[in-house]
Amino acid sequence: MKFRLAASALAVATLIAACGGASTPGPSASANTCFPVKGQCPEEAQTLTASGATFPAVVYTKWIDEYYKSTGVQVNYQAIGSGGGIKAITEKTVDFAGSDAPMTDAQLAAVSTSILHIPTVMGAVVPTFNIPGVTKLNLTPDTLAGIYLGTIKTWNDPKLAADNPGVTFPSSNITPVFRSDSSGTTFAFTDYLAKVSPDFKSKVGAGTAVTFPSGVGGKGNDGVAGVVKSTPNSIGYVELIYAIQQKLGTAALRNASGKFVDPTLDAVSKAAVGVTYPDDLRVSITNSPNADAWPISTFTFLLTYKDVSDHAKALAMARYFWWGTHDGQAFTKDLGYAPLPADVLTKAEAKIHSMTSGGLPVLPSN
C-alpha cells in the first residue's frame, strides 16, 4: 500500500516536472510575440549554427548571450574568419555566416541559391602598434602602405619622423602583423591601401587572403592583437575594440580630405554619410571623402540564403537578424562598434523581410 502510494506520488511528480518543461528564460510565449521580436516564439528553431568573421565577434557574442536570455534560442557563432564564413555558407554547412568582405561575383556564382547580405554594425579597422616608448603615432596612406610593402623597414625611418614631430622612435626593425587566415578585416584594410597606393595595388592587391611581402601572421582579429601585444616593435590591423581591450596604441590616419583622424566611432559613422548603396548592399566605404571620416571604416554583414526551406529555422534566423539590427544596436557603442545609420537600417529591414521559406515570406510585413 505504502509502495503504491510512493510510486504514484513519484509518477505525478515526474509528470509535473515534465510538463513544467526545461527551464527556459524569458516571458512565456504566445503567437504574437514572434514578430516584432519580444521574447520566445514557439515555432522557431531553438538552435542555430553560424560561423565567420572575427571582426564583429565581440558584439556578436554579446548579442548571443542577451538573445539567449530573452528568447532561449542558442545561436552558436564560431569566429573563424570571414573566409571561413563564406566557404561555410557556400558549402551549406552552416545556417548563416558572418563576413566583413561582401562576397565577390565569383563567390556568389559558386553558391547554388541566392545569398542576402544583411549589414549589422559598422567598425573601424585600425593600425595598432606596440612600440616601446611611443604612445601616439600618425600615419599617412604612403607610410602605412610602405610599412606593409616592406619599403619602410625601421621605426626611425625619416618618412615616419616627418609626420610625427617630437616623437623619438627606436631604430628597431618593424614587424608588420597580418591575418594568417582569410579575413574580411584584411579585405577592408587592403581595399583601402589599394585605393590609396598604386604600388600596393600592383604588388599585393586587395582581397581576403593576400600575400604580404614580410611579417608575421596571426589567426583572427584576436590573434593579431595577441601577436602585436607580445611582439615589441610590431604593428597590426584589427577592429578598434581589439586594440582597446589589449590597451594597445591606435594610430591616427590621414584621410582623403587631408586631416589626421583618430579612430573614433563618430569618425566611422561619418564614413557612411552620402554613400550610394547598390541593391545587394555589397558596398565598400573605405577611403571616404568626408571631412572627418575614418578612412578604413567598414560594414560587417550576415550572409544568409534568401530562401530557407526549414520554416522553423527561417523564422529563428529572421528574428535574430531583426533583433540584432534593432535591439542589438544598443550594445554597439560600448563595445567599440558604430550602429547602423538610419538609411542602412531601412535597407537591412527590407532584406530581412525579403527572406522566404518555401517561397512564402518568413516575417509578416508590418
Binding site: 573563424i80 563567390q107 582569410s182 582581397g207 581576403t208 608575421v216 601572421g217 589567426k219 607580445s230 610590431s234
Partner: protein, 312 residues
C-alpha cells in the same frame, strides 16, 4: 573442421567490421586525391618547386610549406636524436634497474601530453624565452660567423621556424627514447660480454658492440620520430609564425609547415582551385607519412624481435 551456421554468422560479422579498415583507407586516398585533382593537373611538379602562394591571383606553389616542414623536422631530429639516444643508452646500459624503470616511466609520460598542450606551452614559455634571450644571443654570438651566421639573421619575432623545430624536438623525444630502448635492449648479452671480456671500458663496449648492432633499429626510431614530426599540426601552428613569405636561409623567419598551412587555410579555402591546392598539400603529407612510416617499421622490425608495444 565443420563450420556451422554460428561460425558463418560470426565470421561474416567480424569480417564485415574488419574490412571497414582497408575500406576507410581506400576512401581516404580516393576522396583526397579526387579533391586535389584540379590542383595536381594544373600545377604538376611546379607545385613542389614554386613558392608563390597567391589565393587572389589563384597561383599556388607549396615550396615554402615544404621548406618549412623540412627545416622544422630537421631541427627536431638534430636536437632530439642525441638527447633521446643518449638517454636510451643510459637507461639500458648504465642505470640501475629501479631507477631505469622510474625514469623511463617519466619520459613516457611526455608521450601522453596532447599536442595542443605542447603548442600552448611552446607559445607561452618557449616563444618569449627565445625572443628575449635565446635568439638575440644566437644572433650576436653566431651572426658574424660566415655561412652559419645566415641562419640567425633578421628581425626576431619569437614565432619562427626555429621555435617550431624545438617544440617538435621535445615532442618526439619520448618516441625516440622508447623505441631506441627496446632496440638497444634487444642486443644479445653475448655481444656485450665479448667486448668486456677483452678489457673494453663501458663506453667502448657500447660503441663497439651495442651500437653497431642496434644502429639500424635506432635509425628506424629516428625515422619514426621524423614521421611524427612531419605530420604534427597543433603544436607547430601556434609557434611557427604562419606567413608564407619567400624561402630564406634564416631560422628566425616566421614560416609555415605543410600541416599548419592546412590547419590555417582549410576552413576558408573558397574557390575550387584554392581548396584543391590545400587538399593537395594533405595528399603530399599522406604520401610522405605512408612512405616514412613503412620504412621506419621495416627498419625496426629487422632488429627488434619484440612486438612494438608502444601505441603511437
Amino acid at each position: 573442421m565443420r563450420s556451422g551456421r554460428g561460425d558463418r554468422v560470426f565470421a561474416g560479422g567480424v569480417t564485415g567490421l574488419a574490412l571497414i579498415v582497408p575500406l576507410t583507407l581506400a576512401g581516404i586516398t580516393f576522396l583526397m586525391v579526387e579533391a586535389a585533382w584540379p590542383s595536381i593537373t594544373k600545377y604538376g611538379v611546379g607545385f613542389l618547386t614554386s613558392s608563390t602562394w597567391d589565393p587572389v591571383k589563384e597561383i599556388f606553389g607549396a615550396a615554402a610549406y615544404l621548406y618549412g616542414t623540412l627545416v622544422t623536422t630537421a631541427i627536431a631530429v638534430v636536437l632530439a636524436a642525441p638527447v633521446a639516444v643518449g638517454a636510451a643508452i643510459f637507461l639500458v646500459e648504465y642505470a640501475p634497474k629501479r631507477i631505469a624503470g622510474t625514469l623511463s616511466f617519466l619520459i613516457e609520460v611526455l608521450a601522453y601530453i596532447p599536442s595542443i598542450v605542447y603548442g600552448l606551452w611552446g607559445l607561452f614559455v618557449l616563444v618569449p624565452l627565445f625572443r628575449e634571450n635565446v635568439e638575440p644571443s644566437l644572433q650576436s654570438l653566431l651572426g658574424p660567423v660566415p655561412i652559419v651566421g645566415g641562419l640567425f639573421a633578421g628581425a626576431i619575432g619569437g614565432r619562427d621556424l626555429l621555435v617550431g623545430g624545438v617544440i617538435l624536438a621535445i615532442m618526439i623525444v619520448p618516441i625516440l627514447v622508447a623505441v631506441s630502448r627496446e632496440v638497444i635492449a634487444a642486443v644479445p648479452t653475448a655481444q656485450r660480454e665479448g667486448m668486456l671480456g677483452i678489457g673494453a671500458t663501458k663506453w667502448e663496449m657500447v660503441r663497439g658492440a651495442v651500437l653497431p648492432y642496434a644502429r639500424i633499429g635506432i635509425i628506424g626510431a629516428i625515422v619514426l620520430g621524423l614521421a611524427r614530426a612531419f605530420g604534427e599540426t597543433m603544436a607547430v601552428t601556434l609557434v611557427v609564425g604562419n606567413s608564407s613569405t619567400a624561402i630564406t636561409s634564416s631560422l628566425f623567419v616566421p614560416g609555415y609547415t605543410m600541416a599548419s598551412a592546412i590547419a590555417n587555410q582549410f576552413v576558408e579555402a573558397t574557390g575550387q582551385l584554392y581548396f584543391s591546392a590545400i587538399v593537395e598539400i594533405a595528399v603530399l603529407l599522406l604520401i610522405v607519412a605512408l612512405v616514412v612510416n613503412t620504412l621506419a617499421r621495416l627498419l625496426i622490425r629487422r632488429v627488434s624481435a619484440a612486438p612494438q608495444g608502444f601505441a603511437i
